[in-house]
């Protein structure tokens, strides 16, 4: 398959270490945030269903509070 793709295109595809715009936005957003809860939620923003991932993280944050001993 790769043999038939022109070399220029292969080069662009395989040697591009550039981060996606999506990741750049998230990095920039996270860098401007100081609240640790917001940071954790942004870090959890990933995968095919980011809302579910963030919900799981929020769930984990709330359970941590519930289970905190001190």
């Amino acid at each position: 398959m790769e043999d038939v793709i022109p070399k220029a295109s292969i080069m662009t595809e395989q040697h591009s270490p550039k981060r996606s715009k999506h990741d750049e936005f998230l990095d920039e957003l996270e860098a401007g945030i100081s609240d640790p809860v917001y940071k954790r939620l942004i870090k959890a923003y990933q995968g095919n269903n980011p809302t579910t991932s963030m919900e799981s993280e929020l769930k984990a944050i709330l359970l941590e509070i519930l289970q905190r001993e001190d």
Binding site: P6, V37, I65
Partner: protein, 828 residues
């Protein structure tokens, strides 16, 4: 990437195969409405994106469009494909997409199937190279949210749109993320707060509690003060709670001592019970029964084993008594001694044969012991869950009046729990006893070597039955736990009323649940903080969009807009983009504003104030500006019917826009229903020598596409003559004349071919060899053919001059003469 050619078959209006070649600068396609013009741009959209923008921007169900890409006249097996050749970084690349009857797509690059295009990552944030009328209206004449989405798509900020949408979804509806146990804690503390608010004597505490987490210290200072007033003076601080509990217990105990406790199964209990059930149900299997049945053989050889043990013991003693019988003391003669030893050896050898069987018996007995322990633990776990609660049933005569008549519903729930749990527990206890009995029978059968498979099968049935009873009980406990717990809270409350200990009860709960109260505050802080999180994301997204539309886009759009606006236009114009703000000045993240002015005065709503033709112009300018901005793998721009609702003056202005796009290096493919305007574009871009197609008709097979000359050979010859007559014509002009002659020769050749042999041929790819062949077939004099084909010697097949090209006026004059000779033949 620029487009060289496209072949469309079985897609939208194209039932049969059609191929179009594109000029690397400008290609024009003219067709009346509904003649399949848009099908061409949609074929490219499908090829590159797998979806047309019409379907993508559908606000209603996309289901309506399902199956609409394939031409309706195709059979299931007929091919539907778009195949295009692009020029990418000097190499040709052929992309092909096939659409099956179920709407699934297969992609191919240079004939090999691929999962995605090799430049897919560059397409993600690049603006689509299509400017379509319905897309323009979608961008401007829609609600703010849809407009935001449209701009996000155009500006490559789709990810920003997604991030904001997902964060809003979490922040506005966080309920799905609140675990049950967290919600329970919040509800319990809220119930305590409600009780506190109902106690006027404790209003100081309630006041602080309302203020939230920051006042926790003051809350407990107030609690301590109230407690001190209710315990004997001199009570040490650490004994206050104990003292309060004692006071309350004594007062309440005079009325009723018990509580209604029926707790639901904890996660650990559930896990343990599930594991036990899994184990118990997996024990009695066919291999287990086989092992058990095999032990019957042990009974048959038991005499041998006993004898071996007897001989073993006898020999041990014989060694100690040396020549005397260890049992009666008589002398054992040597032959007798030898006989005893030999007999023992033979029996010992036989015993070894059955040693494995003995081990199996031991293992089997151990597994029965394990089973017994497990069933006992399992039963105890279920039984103790309800035992205390059922004990209270004896006190119904005392308990009922506390509930009735005020809390009859709760009492009914308690009564129902008693009525259902009592027999359920009894059934479980019976099933457990039966189970243990069955287990004992199996053990006894082994001990008595009276194994019978029926015993084990019965044990299996008993275990299944016991588990079914236990599951029934577990379900009942889960069903009744909440109503019983609510009834218990009422009982506690009513007892405190009767005993006059309500304030003390609230103080006790405040002291005992300080951690829970603190956690509830923290939970509320996190959930309340989601509003702040949303605001942060809103401002981030708003600023990004503002930056994109106002700082970067506005100037570019204004520049293009000024190209289209005419001097006679009323001074009511687009004046820029902005984002709406709240009264406090915060950005409204998803509200892109289109600003307009009327003779220097800002208008309230640009969308409603600007005429359709101006909105159309604005939409075009936005699309053009965004297409020229940012990284894109595409060097072409397909513009579909841009001049709708425009007057003649604006139409002419737009030709300048096309010229500017060409100057910027864009390959432009322009489609229009307006043949007259397309002719004006050709005339305005006369020097471009692009491709021109006309769709002349439409039938069931698809559009009838005819390639037309950019300019007639007569116009071109006249232009050549004019250049040659101009003594001041520079080298650039002369080179242009020579190139025109080559085009004239190609046009004349295909014209002659059509006239003499009635064969249509495209002039697009005519070179020296092809021209010679055509002219020979048309019976042209060989001398003229030789002269005519010489005109190609100074241009290559790709219509470009070779590196060593040099302008020569006399040579061009000669070529022009030969071309005029050919023109005479064609009918000039």
């Amino acid at each position: 990437m620029k487009i060289r050619s496209v072949t469309v078959c079985g897609i939208r209006g194209f039932s049969e195969e059609r191929t179009l070649h594109f000029d690397d600068r400008l290609t024009l396609i003219a067709a009346p409405n509904s003649y399949g013009k848009t099908s061409i741009s949609e074929a490219f959209e499908l090829l590159l994106y797998g979806v047309t923008s019409k379907v993508e921007s559908a606000t209603f169900s996309k289901e309506e469009y399902k199956g609409s890409y394939r031409n309706r006249h195709l059979t299931q097996m007929s091919p539907a494909f778009v195949e295009a050749t692009f020029l990418d970084a000097g190499s040709e690349i052929q992309l092909r997409v096939e659409i099956a009857a179920d709407d699934s797509f297969r992609k191919f690059v240079n004939g090999a199937e691929v999962p995605q295009w090799p430049f897919a990552h560059r397409m993600v944030s690049a603006t689509k190279p299509f400017i379509l009328q319905h897309a323009l209206k979608y961008l401007l004449l829609v609600g703010p949210d849809e407009r935001f989405k449209g701009f996000a798509r155009l500006l490559g900020l789709v990810d920003l749109d997604r991030i904001q949408t997902n964060v809003v979804s979490l922040c506005t509806k966080p309920e799905a993320a609140i675990p049950q146990e967290v919600q329970k804690l919040v509800n319990d503390v809220k119930a305590l707060e409600a009780r506190l608010e109902a106690r006027p004597a404790l209003s100081a505490i309630a006041k602080f509690l309302k203020k939230g987490s920051k006042t926790l210290k003051q809350i407990y200072q107030a609690v301590a003060l109230e407690c001190t007033q209710r315990v004997p003076s001199g009570t040490p601080k650490e004994s206050v709670l104990l003292q309060l509990l004692k006071i309350r217990e004594e007062a309440v105990g005079k009325i009723f001592k018990e509580r209604l406790i029926l707790e639901t199964y904890s996660e650990t209990e559930t896990t343990l019970s599930n594991a036990d059930e899994q184990f118990l149900l997996s024990v009695i299997t066919d291999p287990f029964i086989e092992k058990y049945v095999k032990l019957i053989a042990l009974g048959l050889v038991q005499r041998v084993l006993d004898k071996a043990r007897f001989f073993g013991l006898g020999l041990k003693f014989l060694k100690e008594t040396e020549g005397l019988c260890p049992f009666c003391g008589q002398t054992v003669s040597e032959p007798l001694g030898v006989h005893i030893k030999q007999t023992h050896e033979s029996i010992e050898a036989e015993r070894k044969l059955y040693a494995g069987l003995e081990k199996e018996q031991a293992d089997f007995l151990q597994s029965l012991t394990d089973l017994s322990t497990r069933i006992e633990t399992y039963h105890k776990r279920q039984q103790t869950k309800v035992a205390d609660f059922l004990e209270v049933e004896k006190s119904i005569p005392k308990l009922k009046p506390i509930f009735s008549p005020k809390y009859d519903t709760h009492w009914a729930a308690v009564q129902k729990a008693f009525d259902e749990l009592r027999p359920a527990k009894a059934s479980l206890d019976t099933a457990y006893t039966v189970c243990i009995n069955a287990l004992d029978k199996v053990k006894i059968s082994i001990a008595e070597t009276k194994e019978d498979a029926v015993f084990v099968r019965t044990l299996g049935e008993c275990l299944t039955s016991c588990i079914a009873e236990a599951r029934q009980l577990r379900k009942m406990v889960s069903d009744h736990a909440t109503p019983v717990s609510e009834a218990d809270a009422i009982l506690k409350h009513e007892l405190d009323i009767l005993a006059g200990t309500e304030d003390i009860a609230v103080l006790i709960d405040l002291l005992e649940h300080r951690k829970e109260i603190e956690k509830k505050f923290q939970i509320e802080d996190v959930l309340g903080g989601l509003k702040g999180f949303r605001k942060v994301v809103d401002q981030f997204v708003g600023n990004k969009m503002l930056n994109a539309v106002s700082s970067e886009l506005t100037a570019d759009v204004m520049e293009w807009y000024s190209q289209i606006r005419t001097t006679g236009d009323p001074d009511v114009h687009f004046s820029g983009f902005d984002l709406e703000r709240t009264a406090k000045g915060d950005l409204k993240a998803r509200r892109v504003q289109i600003k307009a002015t009327s003779y220097g005065k800002d208008l309230i709503s640009a969308a409603s104030s600007l005429s359709e033709s101006k909105l159309n112009a604005l939409g075009l300018c936005v699309s053009i500006a965004t297409n020229l901005k940012g990284e894109t793998p595409f060097g072409f721009l397909m513009i579909d019917d841009p001049i709708q609702s425009w007057d003649a003056e604006h139409e002419i202005q737009f030709i300048d826009v096309i010229r500017k796009l060409l100057e910027l290096g864009k390959q432009v493919i322009l489609l229009s229903h307006n043949r007259k305007w397309i002719d004006q574009v050709r005339s305005g871009c006369r020097s471009i020598n692009g491709c021109f197609y006309e769709i002349t008709g439409y039938s069931v097979t698809g559009p009838h596409i005819a390639e037309r000359p950019w300019a007639s050979w007569r116009q071109r010859l006249n232009e050549v003559d004019a250049i040659l007559k101009d003594k001041n014509a520079d080298n650039v002009k002369l080179q242009q004349a020579e190139e025109e002659i080559r085009i004239v020769v190609a046009l004349l050749s295909v014209d002659l071919y059509r006239k003499r042999l009635r064969i249509e041929k495209s002039p697009h790819d005519i070179n020296s060899d092809k021209a010679r062949k055509i002219l020979v077939e048309c019976g042209v004099d060989t001398g003229l053919i030789d002269r005519i084909t010489q005109t190609f010697s100074t241009t290559d097949d790709a219509h470009h001059a070779p590196f060593d090209y040099a302008v020569h006026r006399q040579r061009i004059q000669l070529y022009a003469g030969w071309a005029n000779e050919l023109a005479q033949l064609v009918g000039g």
